[in-house]
Amino acid sequence: MGPLGSIARTALWVASCLVVAAACLPGFYLLLRAGEVDARAWEVFFGGRTLELLGSTLSLAFAVTLAATLIALPLAWLTTLSDLPGRRAFTVLLCLPLAVPSFIHGYALLAAFGDGGLLDGWGAPRPRIYGFWGATFALTFSTFPFSFLAFRAALLRQDGSLLEAARSLGASPFEAFARVTLPQLLQAFRASGLLVAFYVLSDFGAVSLLQYDTFSRAIYLQLEGAFDRSLAALWSLGLMALAVLALGGSWFFGGAEGPTHAGRASRRPRRAHLGGHAVWGFAAVLGTLAAGVGVPVGVIVLWLTRAADRWDFERFWTAAVNSLWISLLAALVTVLCTLPLAWLSARRASSPLVRVLERAAYASYALPPIVVALSLVSFGIRAAPFLYGTFVLLVAAHVVRFAPQALGASRGAFLQLSPRLTEAGNSLGGSGLDVARLVAWPLLRPGLVAGGALVFLTTMKELPATLLLAPIGFSTLATQIWSATAEGYFAEAALPSLLLIALSSASVAFTLHREDSAGVGATG
């Protein structure tokens, strides 16, 4: 037993339950809200508009998932099982598109091909980027790395001796691929495909900028324009159900695979020799990089140089400072809120209540941001009007959204801190405070800082909750990009976009590094 008294332990349980309850509040609140909606709203909900939105949302999710898979699978094969020169560096580079938020892809498309964009006025035919195709492009190139990483992991995990076993049982190379490799990739496909679909369902920025009507965009427009919160609440419930299905399915399939064999060492499959065909490999990798990173960064740089005289440094500076402090605050509060549950889940992992709390906390991740925002808006207006339009609700929204991220990191930190270490500190004559200062804090710090950094960087990119919940006149880098783009002021959005991409690159590098040290991204 640690140095905790019974009062402290009770406090931990109570705090954990409260935080989890807060995380689950938006979902429950929506359910309650749906219960008191009037008949007219239900009528509209069951009308053609809902069906239309369902169709457009699902077709976008389907198209993006398909496109992401078609891009990711060959690239995963090239970087794991072929002898393509530079495959290690390419692996890292191919994850970089994760650093470009979907709304910046949307911005880049508009700023290049839209009305008033770079190509406007040249008389050249411009591709139709509004609506379905633009949204598909933007979301495909900001999500395909999830599929890429999943396929890579599946291909690397594949034990080469499985293929040899198939061969020794009379299967030809093609048959071995079809009967052994494909079924195993199918699992990665289901898990990563549903994850990509989940991100499409949750996306607000790209679809709203490119004016493609999905649930997210319709909910937002309903709130801003018509201000009919009943219909928005019902749509939110529908969207939430879809998102829970997608993310739940992804977790189910991702966790379904057992260990591949009893033992340790596995034989690496032989690398395919590309020879002259390596040219096509390079073309595939470089083309993907150009579309995923080159286009947005190129458009931004062009706008920066083109409108160098029209930079509004003061607005940029205000937005940057706002983004900075709200993100820092969100990170700090989120990490603090997850500490009690992280301690419990590291030390009392066998307790059923802890497991329920953990699941519930992670489940809140499935809520699309627009749903969290809408729920807190309704809650604020009706239950806590004194909080509505203040930073309290905004920070609460960030905490609810990003608690699962911080929880994972904090839990890992507590797992590192073995109770034996604090006991050793005590046995050497250290007081409780000494042990906390000299043993616990140095060991916990890296994990807590990591979790906080993750929340910080994600909050920097957050859009819908900030749009709906921030006090009037409060702008961040993300909202500035969004509003400037929506109004066609492409030059004004360039600098904030560049800064956000730079910051996100740091977060991607950071996440990859963690996965690498956990052995996921490791390659030979």
């Binding site: 076993a165 198939a166 020794s168 049982l169 009379g170």
Partner: protein, 344 residues
């Protein structure tokens, strides 16, 4: 004598990007229903040899023939792995994680009719004692059960030769003995011809009719386990197959003069020789023998191993039954059996 089933002539295999030589100038023969073990320390090339025979590794030089047909030679792989008709049991079993036990065992039976395949699967599961586990996935099985599935899967298509790559080494030590005896029973009942690769001498000596001891890519010595244990050609083989004492001596025909006194030789020799004496070929006596002192004593109940030191020698002596001597006792060492003269 019948034609050998498998012939490997002057095999040479290179591995990796650096093409380092893993197997060099290795020859062996395997007759129908024979069990042979390739024995050697890790990295000696024994697994590479097995993989070359299976068709998983290309051959740099030499030839592998099976049932009179060339399978691999310096020109490349003549017969691809899936047409060789050899079964392979992998070290880590390599069970297909996405298939059930039944489907794993039936994997190689695609070309048979469904009814025949079902019958064969049931037969193999009965033979290996896996009834009732048909629907399980590999990760739901214990290590011993996984090994049996791997064996059943490899035997199901009735291969004419079974290749086993360290099939017991990933098992719990106390499970290895029973699993090995079970595997032997199964192989005997189907009359399988088997080539086993292992680094475990007990496993090799109890499993195989013949042993081939490998060292650094070459075959060091081949023969029955009894021959190799009794008459190792080198210190390496002697030590690899059991505990051994080495002494130098001056040979004069039937015997040699050594620090232990006059020692009889298995084979006449002359000049300076290196001799090998197993611990059980020596005994400790109260009077007579070469004078020595007990420096170590390892008591095992049924037997006792003494470490003794004398003028110019230090040997291990195995005593069965009584173990009357203590550390520090003055004793005499007597040679009970003729010594082996090592080559080189």
């Amino acid at each position: 004598m019948s034609e050998p089933l498998l012939t490997v002539e002057e095999l040479c295999v290179c591995l990796g990007e650096e093409r380092h030589v893993a197997v060099e100038d290795l020859s062996l023969e395997l007759r129908a229903e024979e069990r042979v073990a390739l024995l050697g320390p890790s990295g000696c090339g024994k697994t590479t040899t097995l993989r070359a025979i299976a068709g998983f590794e290309p051959v740099r030089g030499g030839r592998i023939s099976f049932e009179g047909r060339v399978q691999s030679d310096a020109g490349g792989v003549r017969v691809p792995a899936h047409r060789r008709g050899m079964g392979y049991v992998f070290q880590e079993f390599a069970l297909f994680p996405h298939l059930s036990v039944e489907e794993n065992v039936g994997f190689g039976l695609r070309k048979q009719s469904r009814a025949d395949a079902t019958k064969r699967i049931a037969e193999m599961l009965r033979l290996t004692g896996l009834e009732g586990l048909e629907a399980r996935r590999p990760f739901e099985l214990s290590g011993g059960q996984q090994q049996r599935v791997a064996l059943a899967r490899a035997l199901a298509p009735s291969p004419r030769l079974l290749l086993l790559d360290e099939p017991f080494s990933s098992l719990d030590p106390n499970l290895r003995g029973t699993t090995r005896r079970h595997t032997e029973r199964v192989l005997t009942s189907v009359g399988a011809t088997a080539l086993l690769v292992t680094h475990d001498r007990d496993e090799a000596m109890s499993f195989a009719d013949r042993l081939i001891v490998m060292r650094a890519g070459r075959a060091e010595q081949a023969g029955t386990p009894e021959e190799l244990y009794a008459a190792p050609r080198s210190a390496f083989v002697a030590e690899f197959l059991g505990a051994a004492n080495f002494v130098e001596g001056e040979a004069t025909g039937q015997s040699a003069r050594t620090a232990l006194g006059e020692v009889p030789l298995r084979v006449p020799a002359s000049g300076t020789v290196s001799l090998c004496l197993r611990p059980e070929s020596l005994e400790l006596v109260v009077e007579g023998g070469a004078p020595a002192r007990v420096v170590e004593r390892e008591y095992h109940g049924a037997s006792c191993i003494y470490g003794v030191e004398g003028e110019g020698f230090q040997v291990a002596v195995l005593a069965v039954g009584d173990a009357p001597f203590r550390k520090g006792d003055a004793v005499g060492v007597r040679v009970r059996a003729p010594a082996v003269v090592l080559e080189g």
